[in-house]
Symmetry: C2
């Protein structure tokens, strides 16, 4: 196998991988060390998360381009009010003061995750914080689905993309994690830059068809692979042509024929973000390699109910 | 205040305590160190759990009198089959081999908690294991609602009750936790024995009216306070007369008048086990002191939505 980390994202007969979305957003605050720790403690060892670069060049783990009022409190615990500052306009020292331990239940976004615990004093992690954790003994089976967020205002030009990718790759290399990381993005140009700068890491292509895009309270998923929305487009073929190793379609878009085509092309297929029982069951039936979910416990339980497991270790234990 | 630990279980204006039921049974395997760690990491620092004594006199943390097939796997990972052995007939060394990291989804009990994570290799803890954890620095604000399970086959006679209580009290005293523990039970005679042997710990009386008893897959809650089911019974009066400090009614039983009566009698009121949004909201409106729940994150979020907090620390932070 060309990239050793692909094994951890490869399904098989009765084996489908569980990938914790932003940790386990349904249970613990997203993109926090507390949430990652919970996910890992559940026996879910594949972490999806989002990276944005601060003004002073620090890759930080947060989803939106801006500090969003429904997620972020200031150091005194008050919800951010008014205009939402862009992460790329803020220094790490400032970001480190923010509290991202919970959701504002008055917001539409907050109401999407009514079981998410509410913590006081949870901070935005740096990418290097998460890398440092999983570089420790006991975490050697942990793999990263590292999504680089593509800010349309700042990543239009090649030099800006190169700078972000360089900073991200430096953090991953510094902790010796290149063989445990996928570079993951909606942004075809960013992934091409990743492959150029870090050919030792495979690329993972997110897609979402416009007709199914409906994630309330989140930044839009732009830009996508060129040609994706054309009538006769085959997303797995486009991903394979772009050099991707993994295709990550939105779960409402994907068909059995596309999964088969992706596998025929040598791609792994992970679907995002699958939270409801019936959708989980449908994805299991499709034979995807991995399921990205906000509720890893729920997916574990559906897998077991349908005679599946999520790691070889579990398969041995059963 | 007579017992310092009662402060941690006392509500107030805009303050209702969250008590993690068996840790956080809705999210993590019940009565496991992994589940307790999750609950504590959510900022829920009051733990409810169940203690049964092994044949060789070790208080262990598990709910049912017998090892239940829907919860327990053997050391090889196979679900227990056939007759369910009584915990009181098994030695600790045997119990320590069992795997209680998940629920069998084929069972009615397992289907009640579809989001509970499935772990491999989670063990039945001893009471002393949990006491050792919370005796450590950083856990000084953690308090225990220690339920002693009353096995009708083994605890009919006073000497058997005395032996169980002695073993439990010894573990709590050994780690210096008597000022952070409530002795909690449905069994009036057991609680009287607790008060006799360990007068430094307050007693907490569980009640459930027979007409509302409907917990599938669990041992029944017997025996209860004498007189509880008589037509004109006032449960809080019975608890107060029995020397209780806290009354813990089943949430479907309790009325606003009873909460007021309990408070007038100087009792704290915690309700069990409250998991659904509408029920949580109703309990908040009743002004109980504490809510015992399988979903601590959900209760945190409902409290915040209704302008409540669950600790003074949180109140300060808000």
């Amino acid at each position: 196998m060309q990239f050793p980390q692909l094994a951890a994202f490869t399904g098989g007969d009765g084996l489908i991988r569980v990938i914790g979305h932003r940790g386990a957003r349904g249970v613990m605050p997203e993109n926090t060390m507390e949430g990652f720790a919970f996910t890992l403690n559940c026996g879910v060892r594949l972490l999806e998360f989002d990276v944005v670069m601060s003004r002073d060049g620090v890759p930080v783990i947060t989803h939106n381009h801006s500090l969003t009022g429904s997620i972020v409190r200031d150091g005194a615990g008050n919800w951010l009010q008014g205009a939402e500052p862009r992460v790329s306009d803020l220094d790490w020292a400032y970001l480190a003061e923010m509290d991202v331990g919970g959701l504002d239940g008055r917001s539409e976004y907050g109401q999407r995750f009514p079981d998410q615990a509410f913590l006081y004093g949870a901070r935005i992690p740096r990418l290097s914080d998460l890398c440092a954790l999983i570089a420790q003994p006991g975490y050697q089976d942990v793999h990263l689905m590292l999504e680089i967020k593509s800010d349309p205002e700042t990543l239009q030009d090649a030099s800006a993309r190169a700078a972000v990718v360089a900073a991200v790759v430096a953090d991953v290399r510094a902790l010796g994690l290149t063989q445990r990381t996928l570079m993951h993005s909606f942004d075809w140009a960013l992934l091409a830059e990743c492959a150029r700068q870090a050919p030792e890491m495979p690329t993972s292509f997110l897609t979402q068809m416009p007709q199914n895009a409906a994630d309330i309270g989140e930044d839009h998923a732009t830009p996508a692979i060129p040609g994706l929305t054309e009538a006769d487009a085959s997303p797995p073929d486009l991903v394979a042509q772009a050099g991707g190793a993994l295709w990550c379609p939105y779960y409402l878009d994907v068909t059995a024929a596309q999964v088969a085509r992706a596998h025929a092309l040598g791609l792994r297929v992970a679907v995002w973000t699958v939270n409801e029982m019936a959708d989980i069951d449908r994805m299991i039936a499709l034979g995807v390699d991995g399921i990205v979910t906000d509720y890893p416990g729920r997916v574990q339980r559906r897998l077991l109910a349908l005679d599946h497991v999520w790691t070889e270790q579990a398969a041995m234990a059963v």
